[in-house]
């Protein structure tokens, strides 16, 4: 999992359809070079998860994903013993000696690997994506700290398992809460924000094949204008792409006030936001 330079990262990411800016390319390069986890924070729909997927693709690594949610705990993040199977084994053993049975049921066969352990044990190149870290409870952060600082896990019955090959770790967060200082300190930090109109135009062109350059440019500028309004929820890149696809599907090749009026629901999902956008964009046009 090595890149030769930030430029190399940029080129290879572009080749799989992810257009990075300078900061993204350099930070990904550094994360790989220093072997540190990468924490990506930013609003929903700016391509945080996509980045991890793209990195996995260009390095031909397997992607192991841990989706965080409220109530996520150690058995579901790290590992768990397969109780049911163990129980069956004990019943099937009949009058076998207890010690033998005990040694039997705490082996690989009865271990259920969860994403964190899977990522550590994989011998092939791996990208570990810990998605929406902010949704998990604070205790999970403690667990992550332990795993991410040494890349090893201790299972009392089996001993300590150390990573054969350090995975490239990407954590994402929507910043619905502050992650702990300790976790941030151990990670490289990348704040992804809405892109500049120029970059967004390029993204639309790559992601929506068949769109005309003029329309892509126009779309990017209109979306940038929308983001400058005081909205409850600014449109994300994902929504811009959806918008482009909608326009293409409807056969609209020019984005005028009517086209916007008809399709605004694709990018703005609050009624008050739509009202506001109509008022601001329409203005003196008629």
């Amino acid at each position: 999992m090595t890149f030769t330079s930030p430029g190399d990262v940029r080129e290879r990411l572009s080749s799989v359809g992810y257009l990075p800016d300078d900061a993204i390319a350099t930070t990904v390069y550094l994360a790989a070079a220093l072997g540190k986890p990468l924490l990506v924070e930013g609003p929903a729909g700016v391509g945080k998860t996509e980045l991890a997927k793209a990195v996995a693709e260009i390095t031909r690594a397997g992607l192991v994903r841990l989706q965080c949610y409220e109530g996520l705990d150690e058995p579901r993040a790290l590992y768990e013993w397969n109780y049911k199977k163990q129980l069956l084994r004990i019943q099937a053993a009949g009058d076998q000696d207890w010690n033998a049975t005990h040694d039997d049921i705490f082996t690989e066969e009865f271990l259920l690997e969860r994403p964190l352990l899977t990522a550590i044990r994989r011998a092939d190149p791996t990208v570990l994506l810990i998605d929406e870290t902010d949704k998990a409870d604070v205790e999970v952060e403690g667990l992550l700290l332990e795993v991410l600082s040494d890349f090893q896990v201790t299972i009392p019955e089996l001993g300590t398992i150390t990573a054969v090959r350090r995975p490239f770790v990407v954590l994402t967060s929507n910043a619905t809460r502050e992650l702990s200082e300790a976790l941030k300190r151990r990670c490289l930090y990348l704040h992804l924000d809405y892109p500049s109109p120029e970059r967004e135009r390029d993204i639309v062109r790559v992601r929506v094949p068949g769109i005309e350059d003029a329309l892509a440019e126009r779309l990017a500028q209109v979306v940038a204008t929308l983001r400058a309004l005081e909205l409850k929820k600014a449109p994300s890149i994902a929504e811009t792409i959806d918008w482009a696809r909608t326009l293409l599907a409807l056969g609209l090749d020019h984005l005028d006030a009517d086209a916007i009026n008809a399709t605004l629901g694709v990018v703005l999902k609050h009624h008050s936001d739509q009202e506001r956008a109509r008022k601001e964009l329409d203005g003196s046009s008629r």
């Binding site: 550094l30 220093l34 916007i260 203005g283």
Partner: protein, 448 residues
């Protein structure tokens, strides 16, 4: 060695600007520097940002300091010139050039142009004093180029096209002004005041900007922060409520299930806990001096509407009116504020705050809004213009409410100066200092 000194100085400056850069992070940065090409300034910036800046709010300060410590160019190659007279062909040429660059949107060219302009016209005092960005901006007055730029790209004015084009150019012009400021800071710093320039120019992060001192741009940015902040607070509050203790024992259910285990209550059942949702009555001073603060508090409480059983808002200056109707669900933020100021009947005679009268009117007309379930929230700077503070009325209202708080946007050290009756009110209800978004968010969290 020079690079190391730069690094140490830079990290020290970041810490002084309030970024919590730990020793370990400093070391990480050094490792990162070894890995990137130091000649590439964008990579260098990204490397520092990735290792040292872990909060978006700190990014602005970081960029400013980075530009000072690692400037793109050094020294000044341009020759200082006199301020051109009005109608000077040189000036017209410069403005044409600038307008061409703005039209193309080429950032490098813009940067070079800004540098040249500052070199030529930035020195104050006839070319010998210190540097000023104001001077450069006034000579070029980039914002007056807008009409020409719009004409260049638009066939006809008006409508969506103009809106979009106007925004694009406004962004580029703002960028130009920023680049001029950046170059001026660099030049001042080079002439021997690196630390001084840094200290004078770093602004506090947005959450810590004083409401009462916020500029218009700050206010717009703050308004945009309200909904994300409300979402963060709401998440935290729901988590807190869920983790709370379980409710009272459900005796009936416990006994019923115990029958299946021979009358032994192996598991106990509890009633679901009723979520604590206070009713909120907000009384806010809407006079000019504190109106921005009142707006933010109202916006935040309304964005958090789900956390309260009911929210009623009243605004006063020397008259008082209910403003709840302007903040209907889904209502537009900016519009709600404008309508509140224009339509609500909150001025009686003078247009200066009169707390005593406002409280009296409130008690008389809306007294039944305050019940034993109510949390009463009063927002204002407690500056009574030397009139009757209406303390007895306040006392009666507090007596009827479940909780009462006063939020004061003035710094605590200014309380009781001049006509402020802060401590008079503070005797009857707790008064909290609430100067910025951080303090406001903290308070609202304890309230819900």
């Amino acid at each position: 060695m020079a690079l190391l000194d730069r690094h140490i100085g830079f990290v020290a400056a970041l810490r002084e600007a309030g970024l919590p850069v730990s020793l370990a992070e400093g070391l990480d940065a050094v490792h990162a520097l070894e890995a990137v090409d130091l000649g590439d300034r964008a990579s260098l910036r990204a490397a520092y940002a990735a290792t040292l800046v872990k909060r978006p709010a700190h990014r602005e300060a970081f960029d400013l300091l980075f530009d000072l410590w690692f400037p793109a160019v050094m020294g000044s190659t341009e020759e200082a010139r006199d301020r051109p007279a009005y109608g000077d062909p040189e000036l017209a040429r410069l403005r044409d050039e600038l307008s061409g660059i703005l039209l193309s949107g080429d950032d490098e060219a813009l940067r070079a142009f800004a540098r040249g302009a500052v070199g030529a016209y930035g020195r104050g005092n006839g070319g010998s004093g210190t540097w000023f960005s104001y001077q450069v901006l006034r000579i070029l007055s980039a914002d007056t180029l807008m009409a020409g730029l719009l004409n260049a790209v638009l066939a006809e004015r008006g409508g969506l096209d103009e809106k979009v084009a106007r925004r694009t150019f406004a962004r580029r012009i703002a960028r130009f002004e920023e680049l001029v400021g950046q170059d001026v800071r660099r030049r001042i710093a080079e002439e021997g005041g690196l630390e001084r320039v840094a200290r004078a120019n770093v602004r506090p992060p947005l959450e810590q900007v004083d409401f009462l001192r916020a500029t218009r741009a700050d206010l717009a940015a703050l308004r945009r922060e309200i909904h994300p902040l409300a979402r963060r607070l709401a998440t935290r509050l729901t988590v807190r409520n869920r983790h709370g203790r379980r409710g009272r024992l459900d005796f009936r259910r416990t006994v019923r299930t115990s029958l299946s285990t021979g009358g032994v209550p192996l598991t106990t059942h509890h009633r679901p806990r009723r979520p604590h949702k206070p009713e909120l009555v907000v009384l806010c001073d809407a006079s000019d001096s504190v109106s921005s603060f009142a707006h933010f508090t109202l916006l935040l409480t309304y964005a958090l509407r789900e956390q309260f059983a009911k929210v009623r808002a009243f605004a006063f200056i020397d008259g008082l009116d209910e403003v709840t109707r302007f903040f209907a669900p889904g209502a537009d933020v900016v519009e709600a504020i404008t309508r509140m100021t224009n339509e609500a009947d909150i001025v009686w005679v003078s247009g200066h705050s009169d707390y005593g009268r406002a409280f009296a009117v409130f008690e008389e007309r809306y007294g039944d809004a305050v019940t034993p379930k109510t949390s009463l929230l009063i927002l204002g700077d407690a500056r009574t213009n030397y009139q009757d503070p209406g303390l007895d009325t306040v006392r009666r209202l507090i007596g009827r409410a479940r909780h009462a708080y006063w939020l004061n946007p003035e710094p605590a050290r200014d309380w009781d100066s001049g006509d402020s009756a802060a401590s008079v009110y503070a005797e009857v209800l707790p008064m909290h200092e609430c100067r910025n978004l951080t303090q406001l968010a903290e308070f609202v969290e304890t309230l819900a």
